[in-house]
């Protein structure tokens, strides 16, 4: 799942899709934690997942607000439009 999210991040140019892929990756990481916790019958894995969840929520909020600003500025959602370096 993580690998899939990674592929999505690298391939898509639309900012929304990039954010979605990041969500997938976070979810995958959380899944790994829960599996570990379940294996050893301890709540710690689930606790970690809750924290990850909280973090993902915060990140999405801020990220989407940024997307809105980006759209105002560049009038498009192309991630490559933000490149000003002449490298």
């Amino acid at each position: 799942m993580f690998a899939l999210g990674l592929i999505g991040l690298l391939v898509r140019r639309n900012l929304i899709f990039i954010l979605m892929s990041i969500e997938v990756m976070l979810n995958a990481a959380g899944l790994a934690f829960v599996v570990a916790g379940s294996r050893w019958m301890q709540p710690d894995g689930q606790v970690m997942f809750i924290f990850i969840l909280a973090m993902a929520a915060a990140e999405v909020a801020v990220g989407l607000a940024l997307v809105l600003q980006f759209y105002h500025l560049h009038k498009s959602l192309d991630a490559d439009a933000a490149s000003e370096m002449r490298g």
Partner: protein
């Protein structure tokens, strides 16, 4: 339990793949929701019902809904779908797929080096999770609340539109000046004093 696990896992992976290849943002989001629901089922089979519930409520419920709202707010329309068609080509997948493949391979190698014991069937209920949260992980809870507060404030400020009637004044909009000067940052500031009036 086992077939449920594998079935849900397969659905999760499949729908993620579908999500990646969609051109329309809303279609992709719907596939993502399906994927998240499948992952919730996986959590349930692993003996974490509380987490499964949380996944559905918060992740699929709140976060994805936020996504959908924003997408609809942006109101991109057909043009965006056309653009996506030009951007997403098959050959773009090659490089990332190679990298991901190597990553998976490394992961598999790592796993194979440790002994995998049998999966114990047991349920860790909400009571234990709660006890852990308010016990040793209390500080994490507090920090999480800080984080959420910060996100709240940040999102508010970032989301606010420019108020009408605020004079340009001394504020120089670099982007606009730059586009006016056709990308030449040096010339972008040449009429700075004019804007300061």
């Amino acid at each position: 339990m086992q077939p449920l696990f594998y079935g849900a896992a397969a659905i999760a992976i499949l729908s993620t793949i579908m999500m990646l290849s969609r051109l329309n943002a809303v279609h992709a989001l719907l596939y993502l929701i399906v994927s998240l629901l499948a992952v919730a089922v996986v959590f349930y089979t692993l003996g974490a019902p509380f987490i499964a519930a949380l996944e559905v409520i918060i992740y699929a419920g709140a976060i994805m809904v936020l996504f959908i709202f924003v997408v609809m707010l942006l109101n991109l329309g057909e043009r965006a779908t056309e653009l996506e068609r030009t951007w997403v080509k098959a050959k773009m997948y090659i490089g990332p797929m190679i990298l991901a493949a190597i990553l998976i391979a490394e992961f598999v190698v790592m796993l194979s080096q440790t002994r995998v014991t049998a999966h114990s069937a047991g349920v860790v209920g909400p009571k234990e999770v709660g006890a852990a949260l308010y016990g040793p992980y209390l500080i994490g809870v507090e920090l999480a609340s800080f984080l959420l507060l910060g996100a709240l404030v940040g999102a508010y400020h970032l989301g606010v539109r420019k108020r009408e009637g605020v004079s340009k004044g001394n504020h120089v909009d670099t982007y606009e000046r730059r586009t006016a000067a056709r990308g030449d940052l040096v010339r972008a500031g040449t009429d700075r004093t004019a804007g300061a009036a």
